[in-house]
Each structure stands twice: as C-alpha cells, then as structure tokens.
C-alpha cells in the first residue's frame, strides 16, 4: 500500500518493496534500489542508497522523523491516514483561523456572537518580535476565541472559530 511522508509541506506517496539487497523505494513511477538502513548505535546509522553509503543521524518522535544526512537536517512526518481524517471532521462545517506560527496573543479584537465581515481583525498576535493581525478570510459569526491575551500557542493552533453567517 501507499504511505504518505510529508517534507517541507509536500506530501510524498511512496512504498517499499523487498529485494535481494534490501528494499526498493517506489516514489510515483520512480524506483530507487537497492536501499537499506544499518543501525549503528543510538540515533546513528548508515543509509545504503544506490551503491553509496551515507552516514545518518536520526531521532524519531511519534510520527516525526528528524534526519541529518549529507550535512543537512530535515523533518519528515509520517501521515497516519486515520488521524488525518479525524482532524478534518472535527472542524467540519466551521471556519477556523489558525496560527501561522507559534506566538503569543497581544490582543483579541472580537467577542463570541459578533457578526463579522471578511477582513475583520480577529486578533493581534506576536511572534519573533513582530506583530501580525489575524483577519477573517470570510463573513461569519464568532463562535469561540480560543486564546486570551498573553496566552501562547503553537503553530497551526486554532485561534478563533467562526460559524458561517446565518447559522
């Protein structure tokens, strides 16, 4: 079956199949073989890829794989198909404003029940010494403001939930 690994916001559909010298990597129509991974010690190993041996440092944290290969660090996420679906349904029928990056709430500009137009400022947040105004992308009614002034949030956190106008 196909699996999904996300890297820098791009989903890659891939799967592995066994072969004599290890595995084949199937990425779309592209096949890279043979590949294999030899564990060497805590968080260290050698990636064998198309005849080359690449030292790898890695750390696995749940579905997140942190890798350091060829002097470069990257974070990949394994997308479990079930949990991705659950997330999508949780906010079905609602409009949400999400945090573009982690930060702190400087001020909230709306209250639950307020009818707002697209472009209305919902919240002023601060990240990395810069203030950003979070605006509504659509018309709607404020359902819930999830953070108070001074509270901090992570990237992708739901800041404000709106219900569509007329509900």
């Amino acid at each position: 079956m196909n699996h999904v690994l996300e890297l820098e916001g791009v989903d890659y559909q891939l799967w592995l199949s066994p072969c004599k010298q290890g595995y084949r990597l199937h990425l779309g129509d592209e096949v890279t073989a043979p590949i294999d991974f030899c564990h060497q010690g805590d968080g260290c190993g050698i990636l064998i890829i198309a005849g080359a041996r690449e030292p790898v440092r890695f750390a696995i944290d749940g579905d997140t794989i942190h890798l350091h290969i060829r002097g470069r660090t990257s974070v990949l996420r394994y997308r479990d198909p079930l949990s991705a679906l659950a997330l999508a349904q949780k906010h079905a029928g609602q409009l949400v404003a999400r945090a573009p990056m982690p930060g702190v709430v400087v001020a909230t500009s709306v209250l639950p029940g307020e009818v707002i137009a697209a472009g209305t400022a919902l919240m002023v947040v601060e990240s990395m010494k810069l203030e950003t105004v979070i605006r509504s992308s659509q018309n709607g009614v404020v359902d819930r403001v999830h953070f108070k002034e001074g509270e901090s949030f992570e990237q992708d956190a739901v800041l404000v939930t709106l219900s569509a106008e007329g509900h």
Binding site: L16, I35, F58, L67, I69, G71, M101, M128, G150
Partner: protein
C-alpha cells in the same frame, strides 16, 4: 592579575551569553552567580554558575527585567558586581543607576553613557552636534503634531524606529507613504511593550545599505581604543544572521577612517566599557546609526581576530583599572565569521519553531568556537529569543573562513527542533556572499536561499525516513518478494 573590588559577579541574563560570561569569570578566578526563571532551571548556564538564585515574573521575560529581584539576589550572594549581558536590562540606565545606588559595581558603561547613547534620538543629536555624519530624519518629540507630515516630506523609502529600540524590534520599512500611518501605529505598540517607551522617529531608508560597526573599549581615565570593525549585513527581519570581521567592503583607508570616527564619538561621550558604534555604509560613505552600550551578540568575531577577551576587559575597566591595552596592541589577524543558529524555519518565512532537543552534536576542530546555551533534552519554547547557539570560525583569509563555517554548519547536528543551520550553510556557500557583495536586503532578494530546494537529496531523505518508519517497513516485509517484483499491482 590585578586586584578587583569584588570577588563575585552576578549575571543578570541567561543562555549562551551567561555561559560566555561565566567562562571569563572562571579565568579571572571570580565566583559566578546567576538569576534564573523556573523555565531555565535545567539549562547549562544555571548549572555552570557557582550559585544560582531563582527569580519570578508575570512572564519569563519579565523575571529577567525585574530590577528589585535581581539586586536582592546580588545582595543575597554577596555579589559585588552585576554583568547584564546583552538584551534585557543591559541598556537600561535606570537599572545601572539602581545597581550603583545599591553599592554594586555595574559591569557596563555609566548610567550617563547609557542615557545619552541608549536613547537613539538623543544619541544622533549628540553625534550630529559633534560634527559626525547622520541620516535625514524626522523626530516625533520635536513636534508630535507635525511628526507624520515631517516624515512624509523626507520621502519614501522610510524606516520607522522606536527611540528606545534595538535588535530590530518595532522597526518597519515604508516604501509607500500611504502605509506610513499604519506602520507608525504598529511600531508604537511594539515599542511600548518592548521598551516601555512609545516614542518613535523616522529616517530615510538607504537602499542596499551595509551594516558596519566598530567595537570600542574605554576606561574611566579617558582612554578609548577600537578593536576594528564587524560587518553584519546578512540580516533577516532586521536581525543579524551572519557576522564577520573584518568587513570585506572597506579599503585600508576607509577602515582607518571609520574606526577613528567611532573612537572619536565614544571619546566625546566620555564612554567607559565595551561599546559598539554602528554605521550605515552606502558603498562610499558612512553615517552614524546608533551606539550600543553593551556587549554585542557578535562580539566573538572581534575576539577571534584580535585575540582579546572583551568580557575580561569589561571587568577590568569597571573594576577601576586603566585599559591594559593601547591602540598599537590591537592587531588584526585573519578573518572570523559567526553564524547564528536560530530555532526557526527559513522556508516558512523564518517562523519560529519549538521542540525538544533530541540529538545535539556540535562541530569542532582548530579555529571553531561554539557559544551555546542549550543541552540535549532541553525544551525549546517561544518564551525567549530563538537564538540557540553561535558558531564562530577563524581562518587566515575570508574565503577559508567561509568554507570552514559552511563545513561547521553541515557538521552541526541538532535534531528535535528545526533550525536554520542548513540555510546558513547555503548562504555561506552562495556566490554573492563569497564575493563580499552583500547588503541588508541580500537575503530578501535571494529567497531561493531560504527555500532550500532538495533536488538530489530528496530520495536519500525519503528512503531513510521510509526505512525508519515502522508501518512503511512492516508493509514491505509483509509482501513476499515475488509479488513485490511484479510491481505496484496492490494499489
């Protein structure tokens, strides 16, 4: 070693700079004390200090800004001196004054020095009056009612800055005058919150400016020397990312001129301690930007090319001694580059990142210095500045230094929290950077450096990740080899 009027120094700071200061205090055989907020309890700075005193606040940052708690902590451990590091209270004249009133030595300039130079407006007026060059500007407090119209009359592009600012906080470039008022509102709000001072000024923004600063050192006997310049033009969001010394932009004549100007500015201000005079260089001329009355983040590049420990000199001059160095003792040797490792994602607009440091392995070898404030296992939050460490290299030439710095960034392994290390390696290998033709807009004009295309590395990363992800490997192992060789029929 010369006698000092104190044997314990309290560090009113955290992270890498606290460790940096502790290292010199150990060399000087002084006891180190540190204040810390609960969030920093497990950090190496706290465990390295001889004694650590907890402080608290409404926010973690507020704790490090609490003068009363810090002075009480100094008394508690009989610290005869306080080193403020950079940021926090380092350029707060009121703090320096209260420290002195409490009978404690402030390892920094005099409160009068900070008052004069810490206020950007007062500083530029002072510098202008003394005959040194400054940029065209409109200062709000001269006449608040006409501030906006005076700013408009300078013409775009403009730079809006907080009078009490530093570190790029609250600064905004305005290219379209219609956006001026909005930029002023936002800059004012940030200025109020960061510096407790909402005053602003606007100056003409020089396109493609280079940021060149001169390290100066003064004592209480009127001696002022310089330790050459640093160039800090590689910036994102007005914050320095890569710094170097000397600047590749200056001829010998210009170097002499800019360093001498800095010394004269510091001397006319009766400046004591380590300080930095910042200039904007437009390719031929330079003008005064501001003076930082503290130890700078990037001070190690100066230490690398001069072999001088700036913190030790700070301690000696505040201990009442005359400078042990004269200008002719300061010799420029080789080239040094510093790369700042930040918890951020360059490909996502340098958004800050968070996480737990799962693996941490620093580069090393001759000419490589690491000033780090973190440990494996540490949680990186957005409560403080996102700088995790500085990697500084020293080589005979700029080309060799850039190569060494690039290699060091590739050897740095920090997993668990995304950093800008790979981005820094790309910048250090970029042709424009190597040619020395950079300016403060260089990174904005070269977004490909931040984007970091994967190209040939993509399959290696995907292969390693696939092999290390159990469900992916398990489903491969469940497929008999013969069936697998038929291809992707299972899809």
């Amino acid at each position: 070693m010369r006698k000092l009027p104190f044997d314990t120094v309290l560090i009113a700071n955290r992270g890498e700079i606290a460790i940096r200061i502790i290292k010199t205090l150990r060399e000087l055989e002084l006891r180190s004390a540190i204040v810390y907020h609960d969030l920093d309890a497990g950090t190496p700075a706290v465990s390295m200090a001889d004694v650590a005193i907890p402080i608290s606040g409404r926010t973690p940052v507020a704790a490090y800004l609490d003068t009363a708690q810090i002075i009480a902590a100094a008394h508690e451990v009989n610290a005869g001196a306080i080193h403020p590091g950079y940021g926090f209270l380092s350029e707060n004249a009121e703090f320096a004054r209260k420290v002195l009133e409490a009978g404690i030595v402030f390892i920094g300039p005099t409160p009068e020095n900070i008052e004069l130079m810490g206020d950007k407006i007062r500083a530029r007026k002072f510098v202008q009056r003394n005959g040194f060059p400054v940029a065209r500007s409109a200062i709000e407090e001269d006449d608040p009612a006409t501030f906006i119209s005076r700013a408009r009359s300078i013409g775009a592009p403009l730079l809006v800055k907080p009078s009490a600012g530093g570190g790029g906080k609250g600064m905004r470039i305005v290219r379209d005058l219609d956006a001026l008022e909005h930029a002023i509102v936002q800059a004012r709000s940030e200025a109020q919150r960061y510096f407790g001072d909402a005053r602003l000024y606007v100056e003409r923004y020089v396109e493609k400016p280079r940021h060149i600063e001169v390290q100066v050192l003064g004592d209480s006997f009127g001696n002022v020397i310089h330790l050459f310049e640093r160039e800090c033009s590689v910036q994102r969001r007005f914050q320095k990312v890569i710094e170097e010394a000397p600047s590749p932009a200056l001829s010998l004549e210009l170097r002499e001129k800019i360093c001498e100007t800095a010394v004269n500015i510091a001397r006319s201000a009766n400046y004591r301690n380590a300080g930095t005079v910042e200039f904007i260089f437009d390719g031929s001329g330079f003008y005064f930007l501001e003076m930082n009355t503290r130890l700078q983040v990037e001070h190690p590049v100066t230490e690398m090319i001069t072999g001088i420990d700036l913190v030790a000199e700070q301690v000696y001059v505040t201990g009442g001694h005359e400078l042990r160095l004269s200008q002719s003792d300061i010799v420029l040797a080789g080239h040094a580059i510093e790369a700042r490792v930040y918890a951020e994602a360059p490909a996502r607009g340098f958004a800050p990142t968070t996480g737990k440091v799962l693996v941490l392995d620093y580069p090393g070898g001759p000419g490589v210095r690491i000033d780090s404030g973190i440990l494996q296992g540490q949680q990186i939050t957005t409560a403080f500045d996102s700088m995790l460490a500085k990697v500084i290299v020293h080589s005979p030439t700029r080309t060799e230094a850039a190569l060494k710095a690039e290699r060091a960034m590739q050897e740095l392994v920090l997993l668990g929290c995304e950093t800008n290390a790979s981005f820094l390696a790309r910048v250090l290998a970029d042709e424009q950077f190597l040619s020395g033709q950079v300016h403060t807009g260089y990174l904005d004009e070269n977004p490909h450096l931040a984007a970091g295309e994967f190209a040939s590395d993509l399959s290696a990363f995907l292969a390693a990740a696939a092999l290390l992800t159990r469900p992916v490997r398990d489903s491969a192992d469940a497929v008999p080899e013969l069936h697998a060789s038929l291809g992707s029929w299972r899809n």
